[in-house]
Symmetry: C2
Subunit: 363 residues, 2 copies
């Protein structure tokens, strides 16, 4: 049995229920900007050495919670574990992004793809269980995966890309291959997230990091349709608790209504979208997560507080003029930079709590 | 005196006047994907050697017109010539992007900035005059510059960036410095584009390539306000001819209404924006330019034709149900890739003409 949850503000905000303050967590909150993370990473030898070791993964997941009053923890892992389990050979060279030894570039390689045996991802589920236990109910634990389209980008390109030439070449010239790959990815991601839920994840998030690279039309057919295929298969409850589903499409502001129509509980927004406008459009159907520019954390404390206040005020009072409770989870609009001064994060987190409490006071 | 214009479809579409077909040109149409460009580039020795030599710049500007039935030419140059003239030392290492020898990173460097003597950019105006003459009235010539914000990105970062950490650090911590830099840039860009108009440019385009990297709020204050400062100073006519102004903000779809409110003649769109929706929102005030994904050109001829047709149809019939003429200039949503097969461009250009003529036929 799990310890009872002491701070459920994140889960309540995800479900658009009242909270005393706006909960906050940060994408990539366990990461390179923290010296204690870099120390554990050095012991582990490599990123995958860190991610695949239950003790290390637990240790780094909890590190930011020791420093900051964060309202949620997120599993330390990578968005690309699923294609790695498909046999593509994920690695991270120091200081570089992810790389696949065996990218998927032709019909034969696509034909070979299948939903991997979830036992190959056992290290992730073990980490989830270990972290949940180590948290002891302090805050809820978020599980996650890359979206089917974002996985496909890396699977075809073999690494990050600035033009997505290879994956889009396949998309435009062989849409049949792309659809097959995405269908396999979607079913794999759904199984993977459900297994994280079984292991103890209290919310799950789909990172569609590269959805915003697609053309209108292609986004709906090749990203959104497969995110939907994932969501349809996800567990809604576990152990009698509702499990919020979060969808984050970087650069997806133009498609906000269509993303909200998939009925996740929460839609993540990057900093290009005005939170107030987003709330007016879809805030009666979904909670919103975001959306400060991570580069704000390079400014001084006064400027950080001013931007945090502006972001909270753009969302507006949690209870709208119609009596509708608006769900807002404060976050960055993308992952925190490795160059961030750790003391800036404390300023941000404390300011979110302080100002959002003030916004809730009547009159 | 200039030779009379034989094909003014581009200028008419910019001003929302009827045309027999949808005019088409491609961002970076004179460039590395063409073997004849690479040959001239090799003779010139370097990118700046090419751009600063009137004969070479004229030669490469006309190369794509020899191959394809394009409806406009665009000056061969770079968006960063203005900061180079400010003394920042622009260079291009082979296979890499632009680099500045003297980036602007502190108060003293910002204080030193001023609008450069336009004589330092004489090579650009000479190229404009030479190209205009060489065109002999075949199609109109477009001049261009980077936007104040996009110039500032490169001036602070010193090169391309994937996170804009340095320029955004300055923006958030020292907005006073950023505003001063942008004011200088805006006045310099306005003088620069007016001098291109005097030299023979028949339309001018402002490339806000990195506007889409900004947060909502910051975009309006640090990009849009200074694009407006440029537009307010630009000549509207020359030699009795109206000079269309084009503003292209990559990733600016969420701010379309605000960009159109600046009253340029044309707003450029990248592929994330639905052309039909954009037309419904602002098509009574501005013409639209765009917006196919350049990666479509890696597919086969049938798929290219299907995507071109879809794009033309998404804009819709040139004369709307209300009798309103809609201005559409066909283009990519960003620069053409250096890896593009040249024969794909012929398929695209011919298809735009053929299908858009068909769309104009009654019933």
């Amino acid at each position: 049995m799990h310890a009872p949850l002491q701070n459920d503000s994140f889960l309540r905000a995800c479900l658009r229920r009242p909270t005393e303050h706006t909960p906050v967590w940060l994408m990539r909150q366990a990461g390179r900007y923290l010296p204690e993370y870099r120390a554990t990473r050095a012991k582990a030898g490599s990123f995958m050495g860190l991610a695949t070791n239950t003790d290390y993964a637990t240790e780094v997941t909890l590190q930011p919670l020791e420093r900051y009053a964060l309202d949620a923890a997120i599993l330390f892992s990578d968005i690309l574990t699923v294609p790695d389990a498909m046999g593509l050979g994920l690695s991270f060279a120091l200081g570089e992004g992810p790389k696949f030894a065996h990218p998927v570039r032709d019909e034969a390689a696509v034909a070979r793809l299948e939903v991997p045996d979830m036992n190959k991802l056992r290290y992730v589920f073990d980490a989830v269980a270990s972290i949940r236990k180590a948290l002891g109910g302090r805050v809820p634990l978020i599980g996650f995966s890359g979206s089917p389209w974002t996985l496909a980008c890396y699977m075809v390109e073999g690494a990050g890309s600035d033009d997505y030439r290879l994956v889009k070449s396949m998309l435009y010239s062989r849409p049949d291959l792309m659809h097959r790959m995405l269908a396999v990815n979607a079913d794999a991601v759904a199984q993977y997230l459900n297994a994280q839920i079984d292991a103890g994840a209290q919310a799950v998030m789909v990172f569609d990091s590269w959805g915003g690279a697609l053309a209108d039309g292609a986004f709906q057919a090749f990203s959104l349709a497969y995110t939907q295929r994932v969501l349809k298969q996800l567990k809604r409850e576990h152990d009698g608790q509702r499990i919020p589903h979060i969808v984050f499409t970087k650069g997806g502001g133009l498609w906000l209504d269509e993303i909200a129509a998939l009925e996740p509980d929460v839609v993540g927004l990057d900093w290009t979208m005005n939170l107030g406008k987003a709330r007016a459009r879809v805030g009666d159907r979904v909670a919103l997560q975001g959306n400060i520019d991570p580069n704000v954390l390079f400014a001084g404390p006064d400027q950080i507080r001013a931007e945090v206040t502006r972001t909270l005020e753009s969302f507006g009072a949690p209870v709208g003029p119609d009596g509708q409770v608006g769900g807002h989870v404060f976050n960055l609009g993308h992952g925190i930079s490795q160059f961030t001064p750790p003391e800036s994060v404390a300023v941000l987190v404390d300011c979110v709590h302080e100002v959002s409490r003030r916004l809730r006071r009547p009159g």
